[in-house]
């Protein structure tokens, strides 16, 4: 069984049909990039994988749990699926350390000492060991995003969803965040990212999913998709972003 499996997922915003039967399987350890024009439904698709968006038809199964709109089930799911947002969504009134430890204490019920140790270890991993007591407001965008990654990792998820996590960053700060992702890939973390970083998708990603008009338009191994796009839509998309 795949780690993440979507089967004929349909999603409507009122009259608007945003996902028109999406099939997608992601195996453990894979790095999958979802690309496409804005409005193609790629962020919505990602948010269906952890229940932030409801879908109307089809099935989403992650780590053998069906993703349904049920608060209790979604809370259980949060231990398998982590998410990093475009705007970080750090809690501004808590220190970096408190941000990372909040869920380990409240949800995983770990002791303070244990949580603190884990938080320090994770911050070390994203290169921010010295920022434990800083407030998010005093960090750069790139640093904030790395804290957000550490915060999700604290739940030791099986898959990490990344929703355009470099789009709100100044160009010179993008690299430090991507470097963390590369490191995670080497450790075997499953990553699904909606991204504009074509170089990253090509060089680090295993597979690319091109979304167009609410459908998976084209998909394949990264190098193949980029060097030899099959559909006209993907060709024009790639030409436009390069």
């Amino acid at each position: 069984m795949s780690l993440v499996s979507l089967d004929q997922v349909h999603k409507y915003y009122g009259e608007n049909h945003v996902l028109k039967g999406v099939d997608l399987k992601v195996e453990a350890g894979e790095v999958v990039s979802i690309i496409g024009r804005s409005g193609s439904g790629k962020s919505t698709l990602l948010r269906c994988m952890n229940g932030l968006e409801e879908y109307q038809k089809g099935a989403v199964i992650v780590d053998n749990q069906s993703v349904e709109n049920d608060d209790y089930k979604l809370r259980l799911l949060s231990r398998s699926v982590g998410m990093v947002f475009q705007n970080f969504n750090l809690f501004p009134h808590m220190t970096v350390g408190e941000n990372v430890m909040l869920a380990t204490k409240l949800v995983m019920k770990k002791s303070s000492a244990e949580s603190e140790m884990l938080a320090k270890e994770l911050l070390e991993k994203v290169g921010l060991a010295d920022k434990f007591s800083a407030y998010p407001g005093n960090l750069s965008g790139g640093q904030q995003q790395r804290v957000a990654i550490a915060r999700s990792l604290a739940m030791s998820p099986k898959v990490l969803l990344c929703d355009e996590i470099t789009s709100a960053l100044d160009p010179e700060l993008v690299g430090e965040v991507l470097k963390v992702l590369e490191k995670l890939k080497q450790e075997g973390m499953t990553l699904i990212l909606v991204t504009h970083e074509m170089n990253f998708a090509r060089d680090v990603g295993d597979r690319v999913v091109f979304m167009n008009q609410g459908r998976v338009w084209e998909t394949g191994q990264s190098d193949e998709v980029f060097s030899n796009p099959q559909t006209e839509e993907l060709q024009s998309f790639l030409a436009a972003v390069r």
Partner: protein, 216 residues
């Protein structure tokens, strides 16, 4: 006729100002407590409660405070509860400010970015945990300035208690004026005393608001 020196006038006004302050404090505490309960009830997101609370707020924000005082004063005696001017003033100012406090605090909660809720959801926090650790602390920080600002409205609102016969600063002013008949002097003094109570609060509210803006 009793002779009043200027000092007598001021002294009597100051004595009456104590009641203005006490009434304000009670209305602030009562209204704050009741407003908090309303806010918590509303955050349960039940459709019926929300509708009821909305109506409550619309009524208390859509009827003159003076009318609310009259209705409390006469309405309670109608159902057999004899109230004096003092209790009627406390009750109606409490209800009045609870509606406004609720509105202010709800606004602060709703002003938080949706991402804060989403982040909590993806971390697996329950609704109550989300409120307790993430939403309320931030909303509280945001609400301090407008809450202090509204306290000025409460102090000014207490002046209307004079109309139903409660002797606070304004009523004392009217009574003294009836004795000395120096309306310019008396009402100017009354205004100055209100200003001395309200202005520091206004300045504090503005200062806090500025600090909030810088912090964000």
């Amino acid at each position: 006729m009793v002779q009043f020196t200027d000092w007598d006038i001021l002294k009597n006004l100051l004595l009456a100002a104590r009641w203005t302050i006490l009434l304000s404090l009670l209305a602030f505490a009562g209204g704050g407590l009741f407003g908090l309960i309303l806010t918590l009830l509303r955050s349960m997101r039940s459709k019926i409660t929300t509708r009821i609370i909305q109506t409550y707020v619309e009524i208390f924000q859509g009827i003159p405070l003076l009318m609310q005082l009259f209705l409390t004063f006469f309405g309670l005696s109608l159902i057999g509860i004899e109230v004096d001017a003092w209790s009627a003033a406390v009750i109606s100012l409490t209800l009045f400010s609870s509606a406004f406090f609720h509105d202010i605090w709800r606004g602060c909660i709703e002003a938080l970015p949706k991402g804060q809720w989403e982040a909590c959801r993806t971390l697996g926090l329950t609704y109550l945990q989300t409120m307790r650790y993430v939403i309320v602390p931030q909303a509280m920080r945001m609400s301090i300035a407008p809450t202090v600002g509204f306290s000025v409205q409460i102090v000014k609102g207490t002046a209307l208690a004079s109309v139903i016969g409660f002797v606070e600063l304004t009523k004392a002013g009217t009574m003294i004026n009836n004795a000395v008949f120096e309306p310019f002097k008396v009402f100017a003094l009354v205004a100055v005393l209100y200003f001395l109570i309200c202005f520091p609060l206004s300045v504090l509210a503005r200062h806090l608001e500025k600090k909030n803006h810088v912090a964000r």
